[in-house]
Symmetry: C2
Subunit: 427 residues, 2 copies
């Protein structure tokens, strides 16, 4: 019985305490016939994915795929059962605790494993969507704080220099991350045809890169809303340094409290944190702030083809309260009630996969820092979150929609799209 988990098993660095204790605890556990039968079933479910299951006795779980891209090492019976009953949640929990280990590239293996729990509109999914968090103003602030206030240093260690934490846009797949993030900011401005003097409201502005780009490059006047203190501090310092304080105001408030009117309403990467039950509130905000004649807006969000809750582990560990909506949910609950026409939709899911590939690589390079500041468990969680999200965009579990809209009374921002793309260098 071989239970050794040598350095060949990837954990991108030395193993933390919790991992060691898991190893010690389970070392003497026998693999029963039931264990092996269950593992064989599991192996069959992931068969096409070319990942080989190995149990805690070091033996593969029956008919393994011929050309495996890697091994998934299961350390104990509880983990095996968890992977069978609720893989969405249990894989992440087990990986964090070091109760599953992978031999091979984590990102490739996670992509291959997506076959385990393909999202479908099951009763459980519909229930989970219906019971989703209400995301009150207070809960929203708490959720934001938990994720986005981990410290600017942490995000700076693996994001681009402007700290743009949303899907980038790659004019060519080989574009570097920082250029792709600038290209995204610019694409959003061109889709909206931002003009000097335009009054823009941005809901959920992150570290402020888009607001600053609109003001600096297009002469817009931006009021940008956010409830993350750390992000606002960074954004305000940057505005001051760039001499843009007269044109960009960073406001510490919830999107639901947005007042006044604007020519342009934009929100990049916030909608997936709003939650279905608050869509009416966002709809009200858009309806009451956006100018009817000549107004236009853009929502950029992670979405789905069919209503499905976010992966349970991601919801527990990474994004509490998050829900990636379908285009229909956004159209019927946010845009139509506000009297908005959908003018343009672009699905950039492969661009998000590429962005996450960049983030994953950069996170791996900065892993020791994350481990030192937080813990091994934290580092493993983030590693898996980035690899898993990339896999979801590659396989089409998740979509990335950019939706341009305008009030019925307004003409589209451009007569034809060619006007938006004529300045774009393509590969």
């Amino acid at each position: 019985m071989d239970t050794s988990v040598g350095p060949a098993f990837h954990s991108a660095g030395s193993r933390a305490e919790s991992v060691e204790s898991a190893t010690t605890r389970d070392v003497s556990r026998r693999v029963t016939r039931v264990d092996r039968w269950l593992a064989t079933r599991l192996q069959q479910r992931i068969r096409p994915s070319a990942v080989r299951l190995v149990l805690w006795d070091g033996q593969p779980a029956g008919a393994a795929p011929e050309r495996a891209i890697g091994d998934l090492y299961i350390r104990d019976r509880a983990t095996l059962l968890g992977l069978i009953v609720h893989p969405d949640l249990r894989f992440g929990e087990a990986y964090m605790a070091g109760r599953v280990e992978v031999r091979g590239r984590l990102d490739e293996i996670v992509e291959a494993l997506t076959g385990l729990s393909r999202p479908r509109p099951s009763l459980r999914n519909r229930l989970a969507v219906a019971l989703a968090s209400r995301n009150t103003t207070r809960a929203g602030r708490r959720n934001v704080h938990r994720h986005y206030d981990l410290g600017n240093d942490f995000y700076a260690s693996w994001l681009d220099p402007q700290l743009v934490y949303t899907c980038a846009y790659y004019p060519d797949p080989s574009t570097p991350l920082d250029a792709a993030q600038v290209a995204k900011l610019d694409l959003v401005c061109r889709k909206l045809q931002i003009k000097p003097g335009d009054r823009v409201i941005e809901a959920g502005c992150g570290w402020g890169a888009l607001a600053l780009h609109m003001a600096r490059e297009y002469g817009a006047h931006v009021r940008a809303f956010n409830v993350s203190r750390e992000q606002l501090t960074f954004a305000r310092e940057r505005a001051a340094r760039e001499g843009l304080t007269g044109r960009v105001e960073f406001i510490d408030d919830d999107y639901r409290n947005v007042t006044g009117t604007c020519d342009v309403f934009v929100s990049v990467g916030m909608l997936e944190h709003v939650g279905l039950r608050q869509f009416h509130a966002l709809s009200d905000v858009i309806g009451r702030t956006l100018k009817r004649d000549g107004g236009r807006g853009l929502l950029h969000f992670i979405g789905r083809d069919a209503p499905t809750p976010l992966n349970a582990w991601i919801r527990r560990r990474i994004f509490p309260g998050a829900y990636p909506p379908t285009l229909s949910e956004v159209a019927t609950r946010v845009l139509a009630p506000a009297g908005m026409s959908i003018l343009d939709v672009e699905n950039l899911r492969l661009h998000y996969a590429r962005t996450l590939e960049h983030w994953y690589e950069r996170f791996a390079a900065a892993r020791d820092q994350a481990r030192a500041s937080f813990s091994e468990e934290f580092a493993r969680a983030w590693e898996l979150y980035l690899a898993g999200s990339r896999a979801a965009f590659v396989t089409g579990w998740l979509q990335l929609f950019q939706v341009v809209f305008a009030p019925l009374e307004s003409a589209p921002p451009t007569w034809v799209r060619a006007a938006i793309y004529k300045t774009e260098a393509t590969g």
Copy 2:
């Protein structure tokens, strides 16, 4: 009491019998105080629209707008009541029968009048949507025959030479109609990235222009389905003349009977005739014919921002069984059940308004021919249908969506849109 309706009242040609008899019948009717009170209410509802109501005594209906763009002359009480109770249906019926006349440009006045019956998700609308025609195969064939088999000569008198009877695409607003139709065919091909040897299924091919363009310009093999005999005859003759019979097959069958598989599924201007209750059938067809790996498709259709039945008069006189769906209805009832991701949506409503402007002008020039072949009533109906449809697209009552989709397993046809637009000459 002035009841004369002089030549200043526009009917784009001499008046037909039914119009004369209406005049004669109502000439002696008195305008009562109740009539005037009702007309004043109606005038108030259309006030912002700058159209002046004139009753059958020749007097305006109370406080008319100061700068009227035209007059709407109401010939009798029944028409007045009809316009109050059910303007959607009654305006068209009255116009056809010559019981309302307009002074000024019909297209401008119709656009102004759209304020009378703004579509909203009322109970009546929802009922009408729920009770919409089932559009069985047989009913579908009958509906198609009624509209599209009016004779190729009729359509040739006011469409472009290729007889493209769907929204054109104007690289520049000044592009002529025929060039704009070719630009539309080409845009569809570029969005789908048609390659030599691609097997294409086209559902509802009209007079065949798109199928022939895909085969001739892009080397595709096209099977194009249609149930209009007149259209098929025209399309087959054209294919033979252009030596494309080896690459384009025009098939006399309903879209529901499409068999085999394809790399590309395309349907331009058919979905609005399918009807909500048959969306599942279209979904099945797409799901079973489109190749999962590398497949892609496009639906081009007249749509809505919110579920609303088509104008009652248009349904009665022009398009029985038609229903312009919302993007959500198409996403949830056609695309999601077939396992398709939405990749790209473009709203071309102003391009349809421009197309209809061209059609309206050309129809006016060929009006005498339509009147001679059919009747004055027919000519008035078509005039109003073209003017009214243009108004609906200008004001945002109707949308024109082009939706590109692909199976989950397929990458989008292009990495970035710039690849689609780099060859497009812009104004």
